[in-house]
């Protein structure tokens, strides 16, 4: 009972603080972009970013000593619920809060935590992730970008690909080869300033017509030794740990339609574009498919919440790999159904002949095809679950 009372006290505290600090003009509004992922906010959004970051509630459970909220998982749950109730969405996020920060908390030195975490929490610095390379996709450890040890610094040459947000990013963390003779034990985890001489970013245009990804080229880039996280040549484990946090963060965000910018709710599209026959959708077959889609999404959200609860007790587990698989399946299935329901209205590309929402649905549908490739392909995730969770051999 005492614990429940404490939570009630905290609920009041959270309500009061949000009442005082959350600009009511932003209620139920999506942020125009994510601070920490390329967006420079202004006006009320900027004020909200600053207050939330100052309070540390952008990262509610991170230690207060680095500027985090210092909340228990239960309190963080109460905060999230309270924010949902008043339609308050955090504009601070991106790689820093989702993956890099949690990894740093696990493996960083005190000095490194003090150096990087406060800016992540406030959304001041935008991070990108240097992982994939032309010859290192699913076989990530085959990466060749070489950071040669020059005594007081590393000299970096090579390239990264599929780097989200690299154009806007201030900094990159990533995995780089420091020993060419050893595949797994020759990788180091480094950070680097994207303004360093010799860093060049080229956007990649996707089938959706958008360019969320980039190529990044390194030519004799000087990376200071202090930017090494963990030990030299032992960065592979850190890199893998970060991917676990990535999958866990997908688990934590489950149920939110904005993960890939899902356009609008499926029932409304069904009503608008298919129509009703009495109290039921006119297309009975589509009605049952919508049910299946929504039930899968519901089960996914419940599993994400359960895994998050369990991770709070025992740390991220390899089982979250299934959530990445499910997330991709759910998104892609939903986007395909939306396009199908729109009919010929779901074939627009640009111009006045189509509504903005229709064109956005087309772009989002095309973008969703990457969901089963990015962050570890569905096939690689199934391999990982087969190996690490089920204990099968040969993966």
């Amino acid at each position: 009972m005492a614990a429940a009372d404490d939570l009630n006290v905290f609920r009041e505290e959270a309500r009061q603080w949000l009442n005082d600090n959350f600009p009511s003009s932003l209620a139920n509004q999506r942020p125009p972009g994510i601070a920490g992922f390329g967006a420079k906010l202004s006006g009320d959004w900027k004020a909200w970013q600053e207050r939330l970051g100052e309070k540390g509630w952008s990262t509610p459970t991170w230690p207060a000593e680095y500027g985090g909220g210092g909340l228990t998982p239960e309190q963080a749950g109460v905060l999230a619920k309270t924010m949902r109730e008043i339609g308050a969405i955090s504009p601070i996020g991106g790689f820093g809060t989702m993956m890099w920060g949690p990894t740093l908390l696990d493996v960083g030195t005190e000095e490194q935590k003090q150096r990087y975490l406060p800016d992540i929490i406030r959304g001041n610095l935008h991070w990108c992730q240097g992982y994939s390379e032309p010859g290192a996709g699913s076989d990530l450890a085959n990466l060749q970008s070489f950071a040669e040890d020059k005594g007081d610094h590393f000299l970096l040459n090579g390239s990264k690909v599929w780097t989200s947000g690299a154009l806007e990013a201030d900094w990159m963390y990533g995995v780089f080869r420091t020993d060419k003779s050893n595949k797994y034990q020759g990788i180091s985890f480094l950070t680097l300033d994207m303004k360093s001489a010799g860093v060049e970013v080229k956007p990649i245009v996707l089938i959706s017509g958008q360019s969320p990804f980039n190529e990044v080229f390194f030519t004799d880039v000087v990376v200071p030794k202090e930017n090494l996280i963990g030990e030299k040549n032992l960065g592979w484990d850190i890199g893998k740990r970060l991917l676990l946090h990535e999958r866990q963060s997908i688990a934590g965000s489950s149920g939110d339609d904005d993960v890939v910018g899902g356009s609008y709710d499926i029932e409304q599209v069904a009503k608008d574009y298919i129509g009703m026959d009495g109290d039921k959708l006119a297309d009975g077959a589509m009605r049952e498919r919508i049910a299946e889609q929504k039930m899968f999404a519901h089960a996914y959200a419940l599993t994400g919440r359960r895994f998050s609860d369990e991770a709070a007790v025992s740390g991220p587990s390899a089982a979250v790999g299934i959530l990445k698989v499910a997330w991709a399946k759910d998104n892609q299935n939903r986007e395909e159904m939306l396009i199908e329901m729109l009919g010929n209205r779901g074939l627009g590309w640009e111009g006045d002949g189509f509504k903005e929402s229709e064109i956005k649905t087309v772009r989002t549908w095309l973008r969703s095809k990457a969901n089963s490739i990015e962050g570890g392909t569905t096939e690689i995730n199934l391999n990982l679950v087969a190996k690490r969770v089920l204990g099968l051999k040969g993966y």
Partner: protein, 378 residues
């Protein structure tokens, strides 16, 4: 798995050990071979009652232990693993729930202590056709003197051949298809005018069809409100669905565990077959389905305990996801075992047959998809 309470952990361990040692699938095989009409062994049922599982939901004052549905689910999952045949779900969960929700003090005093100690079996008689359709109740309950007279028939009543009383959904007004006009009655099975025909089913468990021919019952047999029984029936069915889903999860988890073990030991082409991606990926996908089903079932049971208004949606979700996973898992158990999976000597067939029986009970996947989506205005 959700973090368990100390009480739940103890019950889980107890149920796991008992089912493994005292009522494993080999016991079910003996039962099946004996072709016992009843669909369970008296000795098994006596042990289930002795351990107090029949009284999990029943208040201490009436001989039970007053625990919740989430706790019951923990036990049912373990008995489901070994295909334990007993009226535990039909009577201990469904029958007891009917009385606990039915707001009839005299009937509760009379029957709940007997359900708790296993001396009486009380089961629900709802469906009348090949598919679960609770609003299609057509059995009539016409006013007769101070009470009612029941006419019509019920089908596929769980443990119908051994029940001491039936909770009968009957129509006091309106016509089949309407939710209004349904009333629940508690009717002792030895009441004059009831005929019981036991069924021989693929899953070798106890079911019966019932005939009601001018069955006279008193006004004191009513559970809940006359004409307003659908709400009670729906709440009762949701408890039945969530409980059965927990049992189905156990059945499917055991099928998964046994199949995974086979993938790790069976060798072909000089390597274990689990090393082939086509099988490893299927196993990983089934693992996902298993985790998803578990999340839904635990959420549904907790929602019932918390009297959450979302409980009906979650119960349909839980029953559907349990059904989908058990359906696929029982098929893949056979496919991944190859020829041995097709033999009667191997247990896979038992899991497959039980799977389909439980899928159909209290609404199959299609029923629950329709029930779920109707909550969203389309």
């Amino acid at each position: 798995m959700a973090v368990l309470t100390e009480e739940q952990s103890m019950l889980k361990d107890q149920a796991h050990a008992w089912a493994r040692d005292e009522s494993p699938v080999t016991s079910f095989r003996q039962l099946r071979n004996s072709a016992a009409e009843k669909g369970y062994e008296d000795n098994t049922w006596a042990q289930v009652a002795t351990m107090g599982w029949t009284g999990i939901l029943i208040p201490e004052a009436l001989g039970g232990s007053g625990m919740d549905y989430a706790t019951f689910g923990v036990v049912l999952e373990e008995t489901g693993r070994q295909l334990v045949a007993s009226p535990l779900l039909a009577s201990g969960l469904v029958g007891a729930s009917a009385l606990l929700l039915g707001n009839n003090e005299a009937l509760s005093q009379q029957w709940l202590p007997r359900i708790a100690d296993g001396s009486a079996i009380v089961t629900l008689a709802v469906d009348e056709g090949p598919h679960h359709a609770p609003d299609q109740v057509a059995v009539t309950a016409t006013r007769s003197g101070e009470g009612f007279k029941l006419d019509g028939s019920k089908v596929f009543v769980l443990e119908g051949g051994s029940a001491d009383a039936f909770v009968v959904a009957a129509r006091t007004s309106g016509t089949a298809g309407e939710q209004a006009g349904i009333t629940l009655f508690l009717v002792p099975s030895d009441t004059a005018g009831i005929s019981v025909s036991t069924l021989k089913t693929a899953d070798s468990r106890g079911y019966a069809d019932l005939g009601f021919n001018g069955v006279e019952i008193g006004a004191d047999a009513v559970l809940g409100e006359v004409d307003g029984g659908f709400t009670l029936l729906d709440a009762l069915l949701d408890r039945a669905r969530a409980g059965l889903a927990a049992e189905m999860l156990g059945t499917a988890c055991e099928a998964f565990d046994r199949t995974l073990e086979y993938l790790k030991t069976r060798e072909q082409f000089g390597q274990v077959i689990g090393s082939f991606q086509s099988l490893g990926h299927r196993a990983a996908t089934l693992f996902m389905d298993m985790e998803f089903a578990r999340s839904c079932i635990e959420a549904a049971l907790r929602a019932i305990d918390a009297e959450d208004p979302e409980a009906p949606i979650l119960c349909s979700l839980a029953k559907c996801k349990a059904g989908e996973f058990l359906h696929d898992m029982s098929n893949d158990m056979i496919q991944m075992h190859g020829g041995i999976g097709m033999t009667d000597e191997f247990d896979a067939g038992f899991y497959l047959k039980r799977a389909r029986a439980t899928e159909a009970t209290f609404g199959g996947q299609s029923f629950h998809r329709r029930r779920y989506i109707s909550h969203f205005g389309i």
